[in-house]
Structures are given as structure tokens and as C-alpha cells.
């Protein structure tokens, strides 16, 4: 019915597809990095892997203007409330990518001060394994997120998103 790989993105589409096409192609990540994965995230935004091709190179410093929160690194107990507040400060159609084993599930640190996985603090859309995931791994995860966005129905499930 509505194949995600639509050929005429702008002209012959329903409103849902047009919105998701726009949201998918203009994901502005929040310029925040916790640990080692952040360096690989920046390397992905650098010249060789160039996340700008997907229109994502505008790392917004303020959560108000970011749509995508890439949690890159180890989330510690002391940092958890801050990451929670950052997520709440982001305006609504927002997505979270848990980048790296630490964000996915505590990674190599089963210790007293590390939160064993970001999804205990904020809802996560895409999990990317790796310690750190290579830039190709991050790009693959972001493409999966784009596919997930294009399959979503923004006008229908705005209410749902909050319930998650």
C-alpha cells in the first residue's frame, strides 16, 4: 500500500509520507557525547564518512532544536538525570539512538556507578552494538532509524508517542 521507498517523494504523496520524508531527511542530532563512542560519532560526521550526505551534519548544541539524541558512551548514575532532562527538553517528534554497548546494556562496565543500559532512563528507538561501533555501524543504525521513521504515521500516533 504505501511502500516506504516512494519514488516521487514530494508530489504524489499523502501527508503522512510527506511529513515522514521531511523528518527522515532532516534529522538534526543533539551535539552531545558521553565517552569513547562520541569520538567515533564525530569521525562519522567528519570528511571520510560524512553524515552530511543524509542532512544530519547540523549537530545542534541546544536540545530545543535537536530531533535525534545519539547517546554515545557510558551512562553513569550521576549523568542519568541529566540525560533524562535533555531528552525531555527536546521538542516532540524525537528519536533516540543508543550507540555502543555501554548505552545498549552497560557494556564492559558491570560496576556500581554505571547504568546498565540507556533504555532504563529514556525510550530508545535504535540500538547499535559495538564498542565503539565503527562509523559504518553508526551509519547503518541511522539508516534503520530513517526506515523506521518512514514507516511511522506521524499524524496518527502523536498521542501514542508520549505513552511510550
Amino acid at each position: 500500500m504505501n511502500s516506504p521507498e516512494d519514488k516521487h517523494p514530494f508530489i504524489l504523496t499523502r501527508l503522512d509520507q510527506a511529513i515522514t520524508w521531511a523528518q527522515k531527511n532532516s534529522l538534526w542530532p543533539l551535539g552531545s557525547g558521553l565517552a569513547c563512542c562520541a569520538i567515533e560519532m564525530i569521525a562519522t560526521a567528519a570528511a571520510r564518512f560524512d553524515i552530511a550526505r543524509f542532512g544530519m551534519e547540523l549537530f545542534r548544541a541546544s536540545p530545543r532544536q535537536a530531533d535525534l539524541f545519539i547517546v554515545a558512551g557510558t551512562l553513569t548514575r550521576k549523568m542519568a538525570p541529566i540525560v533524562r532532562r535533555l531528552w525531555e527538553q527536546m521538542p516532540d517528534p524525537k528519536w533516540v539512538v543508543a550507540m555502543g554497548n555501554c548505552a545498549v546494556g552497560g557494556g564492559p562496565f558491570p560496576t556500581y556507578s554505571v547504568v546498565q543500559g540507556v533504555d532504563r532512563v529514556i525510550p530508545v528507538d535504535v540500538y547499535i552494538a559495538g564498542c565503539p561501533p565503527s562509523p559504518q555501524g553508526l551509519l547503518h543504525g541511522l539508516m534503520i532509524l530513517q526506515k523506521k521513521i518512514s514507516l511511522s504515521h506521524p499524524t496518527k500516533d502523536i498521542g501514542l508517542r508520549h505513552a511510550r
Partner: protein
């Protein structure tokens, strides 16, 4: 035969107004795309090239996405000012485009179609006035967001714009000495009659005007009010969704405005280059509007080029540059031009 009065009195003004609103928006869309591509190419990467042909739909996707973003107003923010400031910034930039002449007026079937909406004998003053109203938007926005970083961004932009209005004004005076009028169209026509562009006649004024123009639009290396590495996102930290889009578009519109001012005042608006070289007479056949567009694109490219290479000024150096260098220089230049103009 003269055209039907309904067409003359109603249709053409409406079309012109639509053109005036569309023209800066189209320029802004092109400008956003160009900036992201040019900065990318300067940095050795590709830039957006997946959305539409070579990424041309990227700004459209950005704007459309921002349209559907949740609109957040911080609880203790001053709601009225918070909502007013993006409007103030955008309207003042777009309004100034009514007075910018895009090309010569030409006749169609007995009716002279003028390529500008409102021609007023004080066009230059109006444009300068409107462009400095935008500052109020930044100040109110920064203050109304009720948080420390935007407040510092707003304070910085107050002092920056004030200190760079003065050299801007003085250099414009030197142009008026030659053009004897502050009507933009007359300035360009005067350059056509004198067969020389003011930019070559007053090089110092051009350079000072251009530097103050960059500072006026808060662009690198003067982008302190929204210095990302210091003030998070400067005055528009608390803005999201369409309000932020207004600031974003207004900044680019303001850049296009300053570039068009530079082109009109110093590089003869829509005049083809080398007017007195007979061999190059064929250049006249290209319509004025294209020349005008080419010159503006050059200056917009210069904006992006400067942003991609120069580091950022520190705040006190920025003010020192204005008060110790630009203002004395423009004052001297004013006196020199006055003396040269009326003594020779």
C-alpha cells in the same frame, strides 16, 4: 493600448508583493543549500546530496520538518516577547526587500513594469532602519527566554550591532556624496550615467561597509551572539520548531539583504560590467536582473567562505575592532571623500 485597469491596479501589485515575499525565501532556500554544500566542499566532504537532486530539496525538508515540531515555551519565559521576537526579526528582514530594486523598469505594451514594489526617495534609509529593527528581535528573544546563555547572547548582540551601525552609516554617507540621493534606484542610475561603479571610486568605504555588514548579520568571524562553542546556541537556545525556523530564515534573509545593499551601493546593481569597453557591448543584452543575481551570489559565497575559514573573534577584540579601527577609518574616509568631492 493600455492594459485593463483591473490588471494594472490589482493584479500586478499583488503579483509584485508575492514576488517580494517569494524572492527572499527562494534566495534563502538557495542560500541554505549553498552554504551547507560550500562549507562541506571547503572541508573536504560532500554535504547533503541524497535529498532530491544533489541535495536541493534539503532546505525544503528542513523547513517542512521544523513546521511539524512541537513548539516549546519555557515556563518562566515572558510569553509575549518570546513569541514576538522571531516575528520581529523575520518581518523586518522581509519587509526591507520591498525597497530593493531588482532590475531596470521596462515597458510592456505601454505599461512600465518596475522591478521593485515600493520606490521611495528615502529607500536607503528605510532599508537600513528595517535591518536594525531585527536587532530588537534578538534582544527580546534572548532576554525573554529567561535563561543565562540566551541572555548573554542578547547582551553581546546589543553591543555588537550598536558599534557596527556607526561605520555602516558613515560609509553609506560617502556613497550619497556621489549619488546625491538616497533613492536606491537613483544610486544605480547615477552609477550608470557616471559609467563607473562606486566600489572602485570608494574602495575603503566598500571594505568597511562589507565588514560591518558581516558583523551586522552576526556571521563569522563575528558570530558571538550565537557562538556555538561558548553560548550553546546563543540567543535562540530556547527556541524550537517554527520559531527557530524564523530566526534561521531571518539570518539568511538578512545576509541576502546586506549583500544586495553592497551590490547596489558599490557594484552598480543590475548594470553590466565594463560599460565603456565597446568590444564587450554584447554584455548589455543579458538582462540586468541576472547581473544583479550573479553579483549577489558572489557576495553570499564570500560570506560562506569567510565562515568556513576564520576563527571567531573574542568579544572585546570585536568591540575594539569597531571603535579603534572601523569608526576612525570610516570617519577619515568620510572627510577625505568630502574634500575630494567638493574640492576637485
Amino acid at each position: 493600448m493600455t492594459a485593463h485597469p483591473l490588471v494594472v491596479d490589482f493584479l500586478i501589485p499583488v503579483l509584485k508583493i508575492a514576488a517580494v515575499i517569494l524572492y527572499p525565501l527562494v534566495m534563502v532556500i538557495v542560500m541554505i543549500w549553498m552554504e551547507r554544500r560550500v562549507v562541506a566542499l571547503i572541508q573536504g566532504r560532500l554535504g547533503p546530496n541524497r535529498v532530491g537532486f544533489e541535495g536541493i530539496l534539503q532546505p525544503a525538508a528542513d523547513a517542512f520538518k521544523l513546521f511539524f515540531k512541537e513548539d516549546i515555551i519555557p515556563r518562566q519565559a515572558d510569553r509575549f516577547l518570546f513569541n514576538l521576537s522571531p516575528v520581529l526579526v523575520l518581518v523586518s528582514s522581509l519587509l526591507a526587500f520591498c525597497f530593493i530594486p531588482l532590475g531596470e523598469s521596462f515597458r510592456i505594451k505601454g505599461y512600465t513594469l518596475t522591478l521593485w514594489v515600493a520606490e521611495s526617495p528615502v529607500g536607503l534609509l528605510l532599508v537600513l532602519g528595517l535591518s536594525s529593527i531585527g536587532v530588537f528581535g534578538i534582544i527580546f528573544g534572548g532576554w525573554a527566554s529567561n535563561s543565562k546563555y540566551p541572555l548573554m547572547g542578547a547582551l553581546r548582540s546589543v553591543v555588537q550591532i550598536l558599534s557596527y551601525e556607526i561605520p555602516l552609516g558613515m560609509t553609506v554617507l560617502t556613497v550619497i556624496f556621489f549619488s546625491r540621493s538616497i533613492d536606491l534606484v537613483a544610486i544605480v542610475n547615477h552609477q550608470k550615467d557616471a559609467r563607473i561603479w562606486f566600489g572602485f571610486l570608494l574602495p575603503v568605504s566598500f571594505v568597511v561597509f562589507w565588514i560591518s555588514g558581516i558583523a551586522e548579520t552576526n556571521r563569522a568571524p563575528f558570530d558571538l551572539p550565537e557562538a556555538e562553542s561558548e553560548l550553546v546556541a546563543g540567543y535562540h537556545t530556547e527556541y524550537s520548531g517554527m520559531k527557530f525556523a524564523f530566526f534561521y530564515i531571518a539570518e539568511y534573509a538578512h545576509m541576502v539583504l546586506v549583500s544586495s545593499l553592497v551590490v547596489i551601493l558599490f557594484f552598480g546593481g543590475w548594470l553590466p560590467p565594463f560599460p565603456n569597453v565597446a568590444a564587450l557591448a554584447f554584455l548589455h543584452r543579458i538582462p540586468g536582473f541576472l547581473w544583479y543575481l550573479a553579483k549577489i551570489m558572489f557576495f553570499l559565497y564570500l560570506y560562506v567562505w569567510i565562515r568556513a575559514t576564520l576563527p571567531r573573534y573574542r568579544f572585546d577584540a570585536l568591540i575594539k575592532l569597531a571603535w579603534k579601527w572601523l569608526i576612525p577609518l570610516s570617519a577619515l574616509n568620510l572627510v577625505a571623500v568630502a574634500v575630494l568631492r567638493y574640492v576637485l
